[in-house]
Amino acid sequence: MQMSFKTFKGGVHPGDFKSATEKKPVVPAKPPAVAIIPLSQHIGAPCEPLVAVGDEVKMGQKVGDSKGFVSAPVHSSVSGKVIKIEMCNSALGRPVQAVYIENDFQDTWHEDVVPNPNWQQLEIDELKKLIREGGIVGMGGATFPTHVKVSPPPGQVIEYVLVNAAECEPYLTADHRAMLERPEDIIVGLQIVMKVVNAPKGMIGIEDNKPDAVEALKKAAANFPNIEVHALHTKYPQGAEKQLIKVFTNREVPSGGLPSMVGCVVQNPGTCIAIADMVRFGKPLIERNVTITGSGIMEPKNMLVRVGTPLEEVIEQCGGFKSNIRKMVLGGPMMGFSQPGPENQPVTKGTSGILCLTDQEVQLYDIRQCIKCAKCVDVCPVSIMPLFIGSSVEQGMYDKAEAYNAMDCIECGCCTYICPSRRPLVQWIRMSKGDIAARRAAAAAKK
């Protein structure tokens, strides 16, 4: 029986381009010769290195940690020797400090990595500690530390844990494959989160263009009456956190607020698997599913890649770039970050895909004047008016952009996708968000 859901306002229907990899099982990638472990792979305070050049490290050993609450430790994904601590490139374009570890290919686990045979009896605080120590962050791409997400402020009652398995970004299939190959682990991870936040109900939402994944998870969840699996309408951005909450509960997260304010916690299936691995086997987050796809790559694949594997090595294992490659994007085409190049940059906890686009796929247009057709207003899932923010930013008026609620933008890119004048609206909004945040911080510092 199909339960009908209220949908969210707006959204677009881009082509999904998933056929290149959706039938391909996840294959493990070769471990890197030199692992590059960035010390900031999450939103929040960057880690301090815990190792020095020349130190021997083992697989799963913590190599960086921070005292900040909104932060997550990073672990070595190989065993070997620290050769240098230097800057490497990051997806966001600014260099970050990273620990370079030369692999000895022994894969000896660190002594801290111990399974918890009685994981089902662990207390909530112990589970929270495990999630933090495992360096687990949101693996959909935003990389928000999970232990923060599952620690709502006192007084907020969590009713639902939602698993965001929509995978609404075109091209990406990493979560889809995870759902087909490890559905039981997703359920285990979800149960752990439900226990930690004391939520009575868990719900999994999958876009209805993945009927096999719906089937697999329904089967895995059959014995758990408190977990529901639902097929969702295929629409971008169905997998945006606040939109998913609206779809499931018809509640709206207030402007500037967090999902816990409306009694929800949202997790990605990849994160659920990472939580299950950490809690049951003590295995920190050192590898993740990555979709390497696009027509600019020789052999599109879904791979289980160790965090810290240089992008160049991953691409090499997929046969390399085609000669007419034009653009490389980390993440999906709608929200991913296009990159100057694969040099000196590793796969991190947030790398859901490596998208290689050729000159046929990348089309450049001249930016025209806004014709005020308001298509961007129609598709905007958070009901802001991208056209006015865009024009304000174009003229350098960031205060006006703030007045038009630029900070509420979830950067889904629907406005840029739909704009007939090809205006880079979401890019402008992102720019203004940086500026507004800096000004707010300066104003706060003054006080």
Partner: protein, 262 residues
């Protein structure tokens, strides 16, 4: 006919009534404006550029008359406007200072500067810098996406064919808006009387500059040695000419092996 006459009478009557009411209100509630404010506003250029720091020419005029803004506050107007304002206010005209004009302190265009990667996002210098530190291999050079062109209130800046903006120094009103908006700070307000300037901002070592730009300053010190009046000094691997000492002799231009000084 019988309709038109009452219509004319009633409308005309209403018109008369409202007209006299307005005339009365204009007399009764008139706001006293200092005639000096109007005269000062007349003397200003009226570009509303904001170079004085006020919202526009009208506000500047009010502030000058109130004695809160300096008589020479209108940079675009220069000495001429300042003396006019001084005359109106009966104040002393400030001594004439050298006119400042905006200048792009970079010569790295599409031919001479090395490109690290192609940027095809939003055409905004700031956005380009967010993407991998900008498309240029040089960490100091002009990005060339024209934030200054859009900021100029008098269209004195145009984008050259080689993605380096060209400033029309005669049209420049010294408002400094381009200087303030440039995310790379490659625009400087320079003395309009000085003919020669070091057109580079790179504080990198000469060896690195050589690899990223054909016209960047490599801190070779030849200009410092060539200058007969010691107007050039070398700081942080970058030569700077003090245009108030400079005699425009052109020795440094001859000496510069990289044609950075023009």
């Amino acid at each position: 006919m019988s309709i038109i006459i009452p219509a004319i009478l009633s409308l005309g009557g209403l018109g008369l009534l409202f007209g006299s009411a307005l005339a009365f209100a204009a007399q009764k509630f008139a706001v006293e404006v200092d005639p000096k404010v109007e005269m000062v506003q007349e003397a200003l250029l009226g570009a509303n550029c904001g170079a004085c720091g006020y919202a526009g020419c009208a506000q500047f005029a009010e502030e000058v008359v109130a004695g809160k803004a300096p008589v020479g506050g209108c940079t675009p107007g220069g000495a001429k406007t300042a003396s006019k304002i001084a005359e109106i206010l009966g104040a002393e005209a400030p001594s004439a200072e050298a006119r400042l004009v905006a200048q792009i302190v970079c010569l790295g265009d599409g031919d001479t500067a090395k490109i690290k990667h192609i940027y095809d996002g939003a055409p905004d210098c700031k956005a380009a810098l967010m993407f991998g530190g900008g498309p240029l291999a040089c960490g100091f050079g002009c990005v060339g996406l024209g934030n200054c062109v859009r900021a100029c209130p008098v269209q004195a800046i145009a984008m050259g064919s080689n993605s380096l903006p060209i400033i029309d120094v005669n049209a420049c009103i010294s408002c400094g808006k381009c200087k303030n908006i440039c995310p790379r700070q490659v625009i400087e307000m320079v003395n309009a009387n000085g003919l020669h300037h070091v057109r580079c901002k790179s504080r990198d070592k000469g060896k690195h500059v050589r690899t990223v730009c054909e016209r960047g300053c490599i801190a070779c010190n030849l200009c410092v040695k060539a200058c007969p009046v010691e107007a050039i000094r070398m700081e942080n691997n970058l030569a700077t000419i003090d245009s108030y000492i400079c005699t425009n002799c052109g020795e440094c231009v001859e000496a510069c092996p990289r044609t950075t000084i023009v």
